[in-house]
Symmetry: C2
């Protein structure tokens, strides 16, 4: 039978999607690993079908899927050359149906909601998860409830609101809103599939498996991933733990979690060698998607990244914006500031340590720049005006 499990207490608990937290230590619970025989089914159409044996789902219902996953792994040749880096790749999760990695987790959690006979789902989000949850609810015919912070940008509200959820902008502390959503969920039968939902995290594993196959059935040496609540990193790392326990790889990649320095509770705790983090005061960063001063999966991330031999870095907004622009201008990838922390973190780290010439590095690009255009005024996008008549002369000037 399926159970939840606490990574700290090591205890197992019955599944309860309305309150997936440890009764003793309050940490988020994960789906306990099953012992059933597992194989990949690469001949299948959907990403979650290919990886079904590794997911806590009895079956895949194709009409719950929007075709998430199977995203490109792009070699960043120009970045490698410029900075003298070993083989470097971007796993481009912006190619997902709602343009972020969240869809990977949402589709699995929605499967769980349907199998439990639930009719209502919800989420607390800074933006990407709101759109993803509302979209999959629409596809599945579920009613969705989305709570966002009161200062959420117009474009983030629209990009979720279009799917027709019940949408509230909520005044007050985001951490309290997160906890309160579970009370509301329990009371009204709404499954709040938030950032560290155990089934959502299982969905993120698929990105790890795909990366492994895209590299020719080999793990990369390093994976850089933005860290906010922690769910994404936890899922990715669990994917490679699965591959290890199946005997498909010998060694997990080293994980580098990256936070925006302006809101970096985990990078700080890691630097200070603390087992648990403390709340980050006065968060301020352009990387809104990862600006979580009190990340619910933070202590799990600290624990598993240490066990993995990895690290958690902080990068400045200046580094982030420079990396975002570089990825667009040199590699043709337009990501949001949160995603750009991965390249910023790599460039920061490459000044302090050297990588082996064959060390493959993967940056996980989590969200699209199209949802953060409101932040673009920080850039000078160089649009010049011209009449038809003077255009040729102006081009000549540009070229001279």
């Amino acid at each position: 039978m399926e159970h939840f499990e606490c990574l700290f207490c090591r205890k197992k608990y019955p599944v309860d999607v309305f309150h997936p937290f440890c009764p003793s230590c309050s940490e988020p619970l994960l789906v306990a690993r099953s012992r059933r025989p597992r194989a990949f089914h690469l001949e299948k159409e959907l990403a979650i079908e290919k990886c079904l044996d590794f997911l806590p789902l009895p079956e895949i219902v194709p009409h719950l899927s929007l075709g998430e996953g199977q995203t490109p792994l792009i070699r960043l040749s120009r970045t490698m050359k410029k900075f003298g880096l070993p083989p470097l790749y971007a796993k481009n999760e912006t190619a997902n149906p709602t343009a972020s990695f969240k869809d990977r987790g949402t589709v699995v959690a929605v499967h769980k909601a349907i199998s439990l006979g639930l009719k209502k789902i919800g989420t607390v989000s800074t933006g990407n998860m709101a759109g993803s949850t509302a979209a999959y609810a629409a596809k599945a015919g579920l009613r969705s409830f989305v709570f966002v912070k009161e200062d959420t940008s117009r474009e983030k509200i629209f990009s979720a609101g279009i799917y027709g959820p019940v949408l509230f902008t909520v005044r007050g502390d985001y951490g309290r809103l997160f906890r309160q959503s579970f009370e509301i969920g329990k009371k009204f039968g709404i499954y709040f599939m938030n950032s560290v939902d155990p089934y959502r995290i299982e969905g993120y594993k698929v990105t790890g498996y795909e990366t492994f196959f895209q590299l020719g059935s080999r793990p990369p040496r390093y994976i850089f991933v933005p860290v906010s609540a922690g769910g994404h990193l936890i899922g990715l790392l669990r994917a490679f733990q699965d591959l290890t326990s199946e005997g498909l790889i010998k060694k997990c990649p080293t994980f580098v979690g990256v936070q925006a320095r302006g809101c970096s509770p985990l990078a700080r705790a890691f630097r200070q060698k603390k087992a648990t983090f403390s709340r980050f005061s006065n968060p301020k960063t352009i990387a809104h998607a990862i600006s979580n001063p009190n990340p619910p999966g933070g202590n799990i991330v600290l624990k598993i990244v240490r066990e993995n031999g990895g690290m958690i870095l902080g990068v400045s907004d200046t580094e982030i914006l420079k990396a975002q622009r570089w990825l667009a201008e040199q590699e043709g990838i337009f990501c949001d500031p949160a995603s750009a922390t991965t390249l910023a973190g790599l460039l920061q780290l490459s000044k302090k340590m050297s990588f082996g010439a064959r060390d493959q590095i993967v940056l996980v690009i989590t969200g699209s720049g199209l949802k953060t255009l409101d932040d673009m005024d920080t850039f000078k996008v160089n649009a010049q005006e011209s009449s038809l008549e003077s255009l040729a002369n102006k081009i000549e000037t540009v070229l001279s």
Copy 2:
């Protein structure tokens, strides 16, 4: 040797990417079909590698690709049920690297540019093609030149400008700008890969092949596609002509081109049974991406759609906005107004004719709603405000 070909004069001409128009009748030229043996290579990684034999390229250079294609074909179960339609699918081209179908064409044209030793490419665009061309230029290390209309929205300018092209907003007639771009291109050695570029059109064929395979190596009965300049429909139809000539299918799907009624020169000419269209005066529609009053591929579209037994429809902005909202709220697909014309056209047509119960219908969803958020004020996105304290009560009210 590779040639260009005029569908009207039936004459062949040498390849000239700087002026791909018929010297006699001024119509856009296409790449003449090659007679080399052709097969699909489905075991390959990239979409263009799988279809290489069907493309006018000697080889694929992987580092020119951003992982375009292999987009989901989503069954629209809820729409079928609601409107009593036969099997209905959305080919979701918004999952491409720059969130539109344009990437399919750009990657092929950029291959051609590189093989010709060119260092500069450009485009004239209302938005999607600007971003796509600039992104692939960045990836390939080419300099790009992008001309957009003076009233192009801030978000469209940003979503192209981020890739670092030379970007001009140009005052004056868009048709004249289109023609002038080729003069500028010839003068300064800039390959303007515009809407009806012969290599761009070849790239769109890949969407047709993929759809065929995703339907279990069968063609759909109908394909609905938005029509602006005409290049996309021409490419898609050529794909199925290829499949016919290879003996893989017996009959081409019937093509239904859809235009916004507020700018529908081809729908009008089709209705009036004219062989050629005339310029549409005072275009006005919310579907900016297909608002082209003087489509360069228009006469080819009229010719091939008639030969195909298909049709060209016009739909109102009201129908478009309703269809856009339906696709988001019921199917979880957030497309731009231009893409929504496909569902609007289908619903309009379904009132006049009946489809066979087994007729498979594919709607080609060409671009993402994330690039047209500026137009969203026409919607009421229902965001309510709440304090943390009153949230539970408000949810209770919603549910009661």
